[in-house]
Subunit: 136 residues, 2 copies
Amino acid sequence: MDTKKRSDCPISSSLDIWGDKWSLLIIRDLMFAKQCTYGDFLKSDEKIATNILASRLLMLETNGLISKQDHPESKAKVLYKLTQKGVDLLPVMIEINIWADKYFTLPLERKAMLVEVKKDKEAFIRNQTAALLKNG
Amino acid sequence: MDTKKRSDCPISSSLDIWGDKWSLLIIRDLMFAKQCTYGDFLKSDEKIATNILASRLLMLETNGLISKQDHPESKAKVLYKLTQKGVDLLPVMIEINIWADKYFTLPLERKAMLVEVKKDKEAFIRNQTAALLKNG
DNA sequence: TATTTGCACTTGCAAAATGCAAGCAAATTT
DNA sequence: AAATTTGCTTGCATTTTGCAAGTGCAAATA
């Protein structure tokens, strides 16, 4: 896991953490599902390799975007959740969706989310943030 | 240049195009400077390698985010500019800056931009978009 | 006019990251 | 007690990145 900053630019510093083809997909899964197990991430359509998943989860945890928690039903399972720092990427995620809505064909469920967003973006972010952070 | 989509997810499709450590820095340079030559990109703090720069510029051009134009003063130079599709990433770029402002130390010039953004985000995007698209 | 410099790349090669398949230990289920 | 699930790790081939040097054309300089 490379750890050196390339410059003082905020865009560059951000990309140093989650600027790759997989990290934002992990964050996406957590934003839509609220919490996921290791196996849940592996089930996503993009089919991330297990070693890459492990290295990304470590990177995101090390940088404070996600946290691990015990699964209430089983010691064999681990729950991953977004921290405040991770949840704060919600506006970025929403803007990417809006951009993609203009230039790609979105799945219906994602279209539905954007309808909600367009009604009142601030409120959507406020509510979704609260939902994601509920229960430590 | 890999060209196959990993899934129908808009986040994934977006990352397929600009989800790497360099593409958004190129777009950043164009958003702040309006237009750049090949050499201008090489001067940025992050010190991109020339072959990577060439491959990213091709990727971004192929996907319609940037375009090449003749330099008005010299046939030896090439000007790169954002297309509408590229300029439309401005809200994403702004949200990344806002996120980074919360978790990193920003350079003063970037702080100043955020002050403007916070006064009226919509207006800032409208004005900046117009400025970037002015003159073919 | 000849020559050097500037500009936008390309090429070759080493190093690092990615992707795939298999393996593994602890917990859970049968 | 044996088989399965879960969250990883390991080994190795393939791909991408990074660095340095080189190329070809335009423009400036001598």
